[in-house]
């Protein structure tokens, strides 16, 4: 018993006072991309390098000249291949872990219109929720559904329960049954074999309910996009039979997202204008 108490004293208090204190992330962590506006000419290097088709030609070029593509964070696995491939340095990653958004289209990142290459990127302003989630302000119980994928997204949700993050202090908890839940948190590209179980779990979640999708797989299929065994995450599932009332409330991009990104996403439902 004394040894346990002694060890307890040694192990100390380790919970970070998030969001007041910022987490210290590895300098090599990529984080949210910021794009610089460059003239691409005939170069297609980044399109060829990107393994997930996350780069889309910028449709807005008024003069018809090719410019920095738009980066879809919903597909991006943050591999950095585009940054390595671009000869003009169009791709930068800011180390910003706050990446969650409320609408699919907000995952599209384009270059700042003003091509001031040397100007420091403006501080990132996370979006405000478009709907009122105040019902879940003090207590949010989520049922996690893992549907395909690699298990790393699940692992990064799981650690939120550990004492470094201590999700419980925010009144947020993962619960054992959808019947006890205020919503689902989905990970994985929705494998064919999990599709029905996912829809059954959604049907078993009482309304009002919300849906958070975490990771490139769950948003768009990620690396498993277009595998015949998967449904391309919510991109592919939406509009198919039995999914009429599936509405995504929160998108957390990443492969896997850093646990702080997931925590920030869940807390962002409480952000107020």
């Amino acid at each position: 018993m004394l040894r346990i108490i002694k060890e307890r004293l040694h192990q100390k208090y380790r919970t970070l006072d998030y969001p007041r204190q910022k987490p210290a992330l590895s300098p090599r962590y990529l984080g949210r991309p910021t794009l610089a506006n460059v003239e691409c000419g005939d170069c297609r290097a980044c399109f060829e390098a990107c393994p997930t088709g996350a780069l889309l030609p910028d449709p807005a070029g008024p003069d018809g000249r090719a410019r920095t593509p738009v980066l879809d964070m919903g597909r991006c696995i943050f591999c950095g291949a585009c940054r390595a491939a671009c000869p003009k340095g169009a791709f930068r990653f800011s180390g910003e872990h706050r990446m969650a958004v409320f609408r699919r289209e907000d995952l599209l990142v384009s270059a700042a219109p003003d091509p001031q290459a040397d100007a420091p990127a403006p501080a990132y302003e996370p979006p405000f929720p478009p709907r009122d989630y105040s019902l879940f302000r003090r207590s949010l119980k989520l049922r996690q559904v893992s549907a395909g994928g690699c298990g790393a997204c699940e692992a990064d949700c799981n650690v939120l329960g550990t004492l470094a993050y201590d999700l419980g202090r925010f009144g947020i908890e993962f619960v054992a049954s959808p019947r006890h839940a205020d919503g689902l948190l989905l990970t994985g590209p929705v494998s064919e074999n999990m599709r029905r179980a996912l829809l059954d779990t959604w049907a078993a979640t009482p309304k009002p309910r919300l849906l958070a999708v975490v990771g490139a797989c769950a948003i768009s299929g990620g690396l498993f996009r277009d595998s015949p065994q998967c449904r391309n995450g919510m991109d592919g599932l939406k509009g198919t039979q039995g999914t009429d009332d599936l509405h995504v409330d929160l998108f957390v991009p990443g492969c896997p997202p850093n646990p702080w990104s997931i925590l920030d996403g869940l807390l962002s439902l409480r952000r107020k204008n």
Partner: protein
């Protein structure tokens, strides 16, 4: 039997074509003589989809570091090996499902990866679960959506009171078609193919990213005869051992949690994160994504970074040791773990278990020892004899010490030799693979031996790219360990194996 050194690719043309009965006879004799089945799979004749396939079996003799390969011409049926060689049981089921080759006389021919209630598939809707009959026998069904944050799988218990007569584990919910995607990667053009395959394998099992990436790189390097600088081996091993530390630490915490010993459970959750964050310091990603490249690594460390990592490693190592020791010294914990979910050595060997679960039964299987990927000095396997949850916990606890020592030594070597050629400028991937070769890579991930295998055709196209995660061997071991145990032991027993669903389902 055609045998070869484990590091050398074998010439497909020197492999005699045997008939199925002869292959069966030879494999059974070899397994009786101490060889182990690494992989047993359908080998198509040509890369064309739907081409007729024959059998190919790769065996390992660990003591002499020798591999052997046997194959047959294309066939549709073959006499099942399973009745005389249980190691073949799961492979033969996979073979039937994936290549349509029927093992005649297989005692338990059921799907491996098709979920029992997959929609629109009448055949699989009636998944033939084993059922025990009797007045007081009842059935408990769990999953695919579990109570915690875990991957999906289905467990079906036949119970008599609290006693588990039989557990059947039906997986496949995580099946993403990974092997088909690996084959299809060549459609993305030569520049993308290698990169894409590596990315896919980093996601084969997310908690074993570095191990699967290492296996894939080693496989390709062996196939093409590519040398890897020592510095890259050091960095790869830092990644691999940090992965082991993080997961062993997390698993011991989970075992503490299911024992009700909460201090270690909560501390280890945090310390596991410290190890993951150290991996992120090396490559930016907590799971080691993007660390490896064909022929080297994508990242290198400067002396200051090595020093910083060493300081953090020592602190996390001290914390982990303290947390695990008070748990393993607590009489209440030992009493709970002792004798729970025990497997004996003969069964473990017959089923072909690998990794922590095999070492806990006294089988000296550790690919770092019997099939080292580099010339770096290594470790000896940590063995326990009792085969129960306690043994699996003790193996992990001792391996943490070994891994800590390895990473610290590697970091100091990395710091000392900065003048050496940097590892982070790997060579360009090969534009084509040599023709008609079979190469094998065995890498000891934290769960156990990961085996990747590639066979090329006359044009250097991939005929087969087989991934065998340790979970593939070990899930049947978990089912057996539960037999005649209490159903309430299942969570604890499950944590002590901690097998991968996606690594199995691919």
């Amino acid at each position: 039997m055609f045998s070869f050194d484990y590091r050398q690719p074998a010439d497909m043309d020197s492999l005699p074509l045997l008939d199925a009965a002869e292959l069966r006879r030879r494999v059974i004799r070899a397994v009786d003589g101490g060889w182990r089945m690494l992989a047993f799979f359908g080998l198509p004749e040509t890369a064309r989809p739907g081409a007729p396939a024959g059998l190919c079996c790769v065996l390992a003799h660990d003591a002499t570091r020798t591999l052997a390969a046997l194959r047959t011409p294309p066939l549709e049926q073959f006499p099942s090996l399973t009745p005389d060689c249980p190691q073949a049981h799961y492979f033969e089921r996979e073979m039937y499902e994936q290549w349509g080759l029927e093992p005649v006389g297989h005692p338990w021919l059921k799907p491996v990866r098709r979920a029992p209630d997959a929609e629109g598939d009448g055949e699989s809707a009636a998944y033939p679960f084993y059922r025990a009959d009797g007045d007081e026998v009842h059935e408990v069904a769990v999953g695919p959506v579990h109570a915690g944050i875990i991957e999906p799988g289905h467990f079906r218990f036949q119970c008599y009171g609290e006693n588990v007569l039989h557990l059947e584990i039906a997986l496949g919910y995580q099946h993403r078609g990974l092997e088909a995607m690996l084959a299809a990667a060549s459609a993305y053009g030569p520049a993308q193919t290698t990169a894409r395959r590596l990315l896919l394998l980093e996601c084969a099992a997310g908690d074993s990213s570095v191990a699967h990436a290492t296996a894939h790189c080693v496989l390709w390097e062996r196939l093409t005869g590519q040398d890897v600088p020592e510095r890259a081996w050091l960095l790869r091993r830092v990644g691999l051992e940090l992965e082991r530390l993080a997961n062993h630490c997390g698993d011991l915490g989970a075992i503490a949690g299911d024992t009700g010993f909460l201090p270690t459970s909560s501390w280890n959750g945090r310390i596991r994160g410290d190890f993951l964050n150290m991996t992120a310091s090396v490559c930016g990603n907590r799971f080691g994504r993007g660390l490896l490249r064909y022929g080297g690594t994508a990242h290198d460390l400067c002396p200051e970074e090595c020093e910083d990592l060493t300081t953090r490693l020592r602190a996390a190592g001290r914390d982990a040791r303290g947390a695990v020791d008070i748990m393993l010294d607590a009489a209440s914990v030992r009493d709970r773990l002792n004798g729970t979910g025990a497997l004996n050595r003969a069964d473990a060997r017959a089923l072909g278990l690998v990794g922590v679960a095999a070492r806990a039964c006294g089988l000296p299987l550790d690919a770092r020892f019997h099939a080292p990927v580099s010339d770096l000095p290594g470790t000896e396997p940590c063995l326990e004899q009792s085969g129960d949850v306690l043994a699996r916990a003790l193996v992990r606890s001792r391996e943490m010490d070994d891994s800590l020592a390895l990473v610290e030594a590697d970091l100091s070597r990395l710091a000392a030799r900065t003048g050496a050629r940097t590892a982070a400028t790997p060579p360009a991937p090969p534009s084509r693979l040599p023709a008609r070769k079979l190469a094998v890579a065995q890498v000891e991930g934290w769960r156990g031996e990961i085996c990747h295998l590639a066979v090329t055709d006359a044009e250097g196209e991939l005929l087969a790219c087989k991934i065998v995660d340790p979970s593939f061997h070990n899930w049947p071991g978990l089912a057996l360990a539960m037999r005649n145990g209490q159903i309430s032991d299942f969570p604890l027993c499950n944590k002590s194996f901690n097998l991968s669903y996606c690594g199995h389902d691919l």
